[in-house]
Amino acid sequence: MDLIRIGIMGILASILIVIIKAHRPEMGIQISLVFGAIVMIFLAGKIKGILDLINLYISKVNINGVYITSLIKIIGMAYITEFAAESCRDADQNAIAVKVELAGKILIMITAVPIVTSVMSVILDML
């Protein structure tokens, strides 16, 4: 049912954007932004269930929590980056979208530093 709802909302939003864009182009972008935000908020609620499942199994198996938290954090950062970059691309601002994506990539790399250092230390121990 949720999928049908999202589909209908998307069709309605597209029709409204097509109607409005002829007169007020900036309002069309706002509508698409709000639609994106509404759908992403809805999906975030669903992702919570998946994350709870993952956390349940992680707590059963003995894995260091730091890795999982940074992994989940990276997924969240990718989520935000994707949303922002696609919104910029919707407004025909490709250059800004590329910069947002670059910022996301670099910040994700920084977040992944503890994982990389632990992998490196394991490799160095083996040598």
Partner: protein, 64 residues
């Protein structure tokens, strides 16, 4: 998940377009621009609120 926000923004857009064309036809170009600006600000406030909600949700979900 509520679609009325989208409808509200579309309604504001149509209203602003109509007011803009009316005011331009009657020769009040400055006021037409002011209406456009006011409509844009109102819609922007709504959009920013929604996006802030989204980012807060993501923040709490992925425990930043």
């Amino acid at each position: 998940m509520n679609i009325d926000l989208i409808f509200r923004i579309a309604a504001i857009g149509i209203l602003v377009a109509v007011l803009n064309s009316l005011l331009t036809k009657s020769g009040r170009d400055e006021q037409a621009m002011m209406t456009t600006l006011a409509g844009l600000v109102v819609v922007l406030l709504m959009v920013v609120k929604e996006i802030a909600k989204l980012f807060d949700t993501v923040k709490t979900l992925f425990n930043f």
